[in-house]
Symmetry: C2
């Protein structure tokens, strides 16, 4: 019934060592290799990966811990990571923390128990307990968000520049009273806010900032309160795709016309952003590149554990659509 390597060895008339070598990359004569392959077919043998990992002390596994798999940004990055991993013969364990530090800690412990080769990680906060301790048994590459400075390799967007670019764009289109709605948890949101703030001040404008949990529901509620006020901004900068979606929904509910009553500029070029009239202006992140670079940094770290910590900063690309059309002169 259950067929193990001994059954294959018997069927092929060789030792289990030879079967193991024939299936791996050990030196085996062509004749014996064929005998083994034939025996594998005949018996329907499937190697037991738990045994293989235990014995070889190589799990060939990388962990991917993301903050919110409902966010298409992370879905897209995951695909890039998985493609790169499979190309290198590694499997990936995908974990979703839901921005919950407790789940994050649990998954990091799980990664230890799985004896993963390395982890790609978007931490809930820069002071993530798992990272602060610094006693992880595997190399970590951070994506999207920063951790303790200089502690881990990372791949992030040039967030301050992106925040600044959105403000500059809105100003060039004639908007002055520009508010910003930013996520409250991540370093990413903080950096985008800093870019927004610096640009506003440079233009001689007053920053007008609110923060919110990074979900569409929370953003809709907060934006609803904000926009109901008669002194509402002429334009809003939103720090990610979920917050952008919530804000659009709030504007709809209030019957605000975009961009005449309210201009919008956000992040993440998700598939729906061009379908919502009049099209939403966004900073597109190079999601595939982020995933691919993270895998590259991880493999290089595994190969050269001692090399200096590296930080890859990628630029976003602004996609201009109707939601930031030039403001009608007053």
């Amino acid at each position: 019934m259950k067929v193990g390597i001994r059954d294959v060895a018997r069927a092929a008339g060789v030792s289990t060592a030879t079967v193991s070598r024939a299936l791996g990359r050990g030196p085996v004569s062509e004749a014996l290799r064929e005998q083994v392959e034939e025996a594998v077919r005949a018996t329907g043998y499937r190697p037991n990966l738990s045994a293989r990992r235990l014995r070889s002390q190589a799990t060939q596994t990388i962990g991917l811990i993301v903050a919110d798999i409902r966010n298409p940004f992370f879905t897209a990055v995951s695909r890039a990571v998985e493609d790169a991993a499979f190309a290198s013969g590694m499997r990936v364990i995908l974990c979703n923390t839901d921005e919950d530090p407790a789940r994050e800690a649990m998954y990091l412990r799980l990664m230890e128990e799985e004896r993963v080769t390395g982890v790609i990680f978007a931490p809930t906060g820069p002071a993530s307990a798992g990272l602060a301790g610094g006693d992880l048994d595997f190399p970590v590459v951070l994506i999207d968000r920063s951790g303790p400075p200089g502690a881990h390799d990372s791949v992030i967007l040039d967030n301050p520049a992106a925040g600044t670019a959105l403000v500059d764009h809105l100003v060039s289109r004639g908007y002055r009273r520009i508010g910003g709605l930013f996520g409250s948890t991540s370093s990413t949101a903080r950096e985008r806010r800093a870019g927004y703030e610096a640009a506003m001040l440079r233009h001689g404008l007053s920053p007008d900032i609110r923060t919110v949990a990074p979900s569409a529901g929370a953003a809709e509620a907060e934006a609803g309160r904000w926009l109901a006020d008669s002194g509402r901004p002429e334009a809003l900068v939103l720090s990610n795709g979920l917050i952008l979606m919530g804000t659009v929904r709030a504007a709809r509910t209030l019957g605000l016309s975009i961009p005449d009553d309210l201009a919008l500029a956000g992040f993440d070029n998700e598939t729906w952003t061009d379908l919502v009239e009049p099209g939403l202006t966004v900073i597109e992140q190079p999601v595939a590149e982020i995933g691919a670079q993270a895998m590259r940094l991880l493999f290089e770290r595994i190969a050269h554990p001692g090399q200096p910590v590296r930080k890859v900063v990628l630029s976003g690309r602004m996609v201009v659509r109707g939601s930031t059309r030039a403001r009608r002169s007053v």
Copy 2:
């Protein structure tokens, strides 16, 4: 450096057997249990899951094989499955076939090598090679799509009824020339098409059917050709969320007004379907329920291997929006 169960045993002054029991559910005196827990803390011990799985012959792992993780339907189902799995102390391996039978076969083989406890599976086609063979070493529960009749437990939507409901709704709103754009690969699309077809004939109308690969890009191209024709339908039924999105995009490109030039009714109540003006009428699938029921069937199958094959059929819920507003009388 590397701490194993022997180190913990030594630190606690007990045998490795006692450590193992204290960490699991074996019978251990309260005093020794505390000594062990203290030693675990002191040493920073993390059990090696590969060793545990090999020895106990219980992987506590279920595989989840979906056809397209970019499709929010599968993302949502995944979350429900993972929640249920973690609540039962199991981990889940998520695999994405991209509707590719070769990748599907590869993942099924991987599941064998992982010695998973069971698999929840949305097959690329009803004649999926992996299912047809029937020689899998683990129980399988199908979701969203059917396999060989009577071979596996399954949880699916009442697709014929849903297809029929959309036609009935459109007819009640005054539409007569109703086309249908359906996915070409899945049993689900076929069943929805059958429901569409039956309803059309019952209303004395001529079915007008096209099929397409189940992606937004393919749907946009096909709908673009179809709708450019002067004899285009007054309304379209779309067989899933991706095809609906592609069709909306094609209508936009052609400058068609929804629903005046073209009414749309589709599947999957995704977050963007109410944001696209004038709102899209869809059949919402009970995604959380699908995931939860699949886990339930899987656990019951594991507990009672011999019991008859079961099929859970869930009903969709129609969400009516502006895209099917009553047709202006001619």
